[in-house]
Amino acid sequence: MIEVIDEERCTGCNICVHACPTNVFDAGAKIPVIARQDDCQTCFMCEAWCPEDALYVSPRADDLEHPDIAALKFNHVIGSYRAAIGWSKGDAPTI
């Protein structure tokens, strides 16, 4: 399930608000919020579309992992799916 929006990296572009197929995010004052986590289908598409590598989807489909954001960034886990499919940081898809 989606677990992290990294406040440091997120620019508030709201791409994820559009791109999530199950409408999990709401646009927020500055950055989006995870508004309907239960609706997350663990498809990793928001991660793929986030141009800033600011999102982390845990592989666990049914329960929460509560990961440590600093470690995810240090170990380059955040952004690893984009890298694996060949989409580079900053490559912003058009909505």
Binding site: C20, Q41, T42, C43, M45, P59, A61, Y81, G86
Partner: protein, 542 residues
């Protein structure tokens, strides 16, 4: 490509109202190909998606094999022959050949558009597979470039018909604003995908059989709904139902003992049986050598994502697996198609991709085969083209006769109170998830489940419309309920084992004439056997 007639917005008071020649419901591969071809023929096209066209549906998050076979008659013959037995010989050779032709050309089209096909060790392009995220991002872009207008997060809830019963549009809701949308169109392409019953199979939670329900509400027939019990393997904790690499796995029980006969391919039922009767099943993908492992990583990055993130080396360590229901997504049932244009039994309504039956090319089995992708691109393209021709020939929707909103359950204003969709979803899942009912089918268990589902329908059928936040989920629940009834009714009608529709009480294949099972109806579900004959060749619209 000529871009003609734009979609018109007629009003936005109370509801956003649009007029278009062709309305496409669903923006997966089938829907986007439909939109591109319809727009290419000069029609104004509006495409609405429940989620987001480009990320939503079963293709977007996956790597997808395409039925891509060189136009060499021996190779094509072998490709067609290789799957006929598995599909129970219900396929239609002429349709298989047409789809092989079209898929081949389409892949070339993708290459021309700049899709970055990978190259193999000989430097040749590997045209047989596409990455979902890249493919669907490109399809969104091309649909827009072709002139289609896209509304995301805008599920269709019901069809609109004219006084002769022809389909003339649809209406739904804009999830993010809560406003209603209404589209008047000359034709509709149903491309809403299959039904996986909210099992969290990869990308499938938007696929709840909505198109089957909307179709049945205007009288459309379905076909092949007994071929609807595809179960796919995933790590127990994960949504990633990519099954191919489990061909290289060894399956063991909790204590590490081999499970007899357990295999991903050809022994999946032994895994289902073990999960039902004995408990956890563990896999280790230990039959892949180092080069194979490297090729696997390259081919399907998202297969490894859950393992990498959970700190599991799937080649060396054992991990628990489960089988998630993918229903008709990797089954073959759907709206019945009556001719080469992918027309349904209702005028003005065309069906494509998983929303349509895939029996014509797959018979009663598809599993992971690349046929689905080839079918989605072909049927989508044909349906879109025919819908455009139909719409342009019937003329401007604005002069249409009075129309009726065809949606029933959970949409009527002022009716009884809304359904409790959470409860209803659980009740339907309790009938369709258990391997004991849906994998290992027999007449008694199927009848029991169908009776319970029929009672649920009776209790639900007068439910009224809920608020904007809940109406979509309510309709999803009702669609799942209707789909489950058609599925079991069809499974009972087929008194034999053929394709994936296996019956413990009829283990053999009936040696009599082959037939297709048609099904439909809402309050009274009916089923019928039609002789399995090659589809009549009608003058195609192309």
């Amino acid at each position: 490509m000529a871009i003609r007639r734009p979609v018109e917005q007629i009003s936005s008071a109370g509801a956003q109202e649009f007029r278009a020649d062709v309305l496409v419901l669903g923006g997966g591969p089938a829907g986007t190909w439909a939109a591109i071809n319809a727009a290419g023929r000069g029609a104004s096209v509006l495409l609405v998606d429940k989620g987001f066209c480009g990320t939503s549906g079963a293709t977007a998050p996956s790597g997808t094999g395409v039925w891509y076979v060189d136009p060499d008659s021996a190779k094509r013959e072998a490709a067609m022959a290789s799957r006929e037995a598995m599909g129970g010989f219900l396929q239609d050779r002429r349709w298989m050949a047409r789809v092989l032709d079209h898929a081949y050309d389409t892949v070339q089209q993708l290459a021309d558009w700049g899709y970055p096909f990978q190259t193999d060790e000989y430097g040749l392009q590997r045209y047989g597979s596409v990455m979902g995220p890249q493919y669907m991002r490109l399809m969104r872009k091309r649909a827009k470039q072709a002139g289609a207008k896209i509304l995301d997060h805008s599920p269709a809830l019901e069809l609109i018909v004219d006084d002769r019963g022809a389909v003339r549009g649809a209406s739904g809701i804009r999830q993010q604003s809560g406003e209603r949308w209404i589209v008047r169109s000359g034709a509709v392409v149903m491309a809403t995908g299959g039904c996986a019953f909210l099992s969290k199979a990869l990308g499938c939670n938007v696929l709840t059989g909505d198109g089957y329900l909307m179709g049945a509400e205007v009288g459309a027939e379905l076909s092949g709904m007994e071929f609807s019990n595809a179960y796919a393997m995933s790590p127990a904790f994960s949504s990633v139902t990519k099954t191919r690499f489990y061909d290289w796995a060894t399956f063991t029980d909790a204590s590490g003992e081999l499970i007899p006969g357990a295999q991903s391919k050809g022994g999946r039922s032994n895994i289902a049986r073990w999960l039902t009767n004995n408990g956890a099943v563990f896999a280790r993908i230990d039959k892949a050598d180092a080069p194979t492992q490297a090729a696997m990583r390259l081919a399907q990055p998202n297969f490894f994502l859950p393992f990498d993130r959970a700190g599991i080396d799937p080649f060396a360590q054992r991990f628990p697996v489960t089988l998630r229901l993918e229903g008709t997504v990797r089954g073959t049932g759907g709206l019945r198609i009556v001719d080469d244009t992918c027309a349904t039994t209702v005028p003005g309504l065309y069906a494509a991709g998983d929303a349509a039956t895939r029996e014509l090319i797959c018979g009663g089995f598809t599993g992971g085969g690349s046929h689905n992708a080839a079918w989605a691109m072909s049927s989508g393209f044909w349906a879109g083209g025919a819908a455009a021709d139909h719409a342009l020939s019937v003329g401007e929707p604005r002069h249409a006769a009075p129309v009726k909103h065809a949606g029933g359950v959970a949409l009527r204003e002022g009716a009884e109170r809304p359904v409790d969709s959470g409860d209803l979803i659980k009740s339907v899942q309790a009938e369709v998830f258990p391997y004991d009912i849906n994998y290992f089918r027999n007449g008694e268990k199927l009848s029991g489940a169908l009776n319970r589902l029929d009672s649920l329908w009776s209790a639900t059928s007068r439910a009224g419309r809920s608020d904007a936040l809940r109406v979509t989920r309510d309709r999803e629940a009702v669609s799942m309920l209707a789909t489950a009834r058609w599925m079991y009714r069809s499974a009972l009608e087929r008194k034999e084992s053929r394709g994936m529709a296996r019956r413990l009480d009829y283990p053999g294949q009936d040696s009599g004439p082959k037939y297709n099972v048609r099904v439909g109806g809402l309050h009274e579900v009916w089923s019928r056997r039609d002789a399995n004959q090659p589809a009549p060749i009608l003058e195609a619209a192309e």
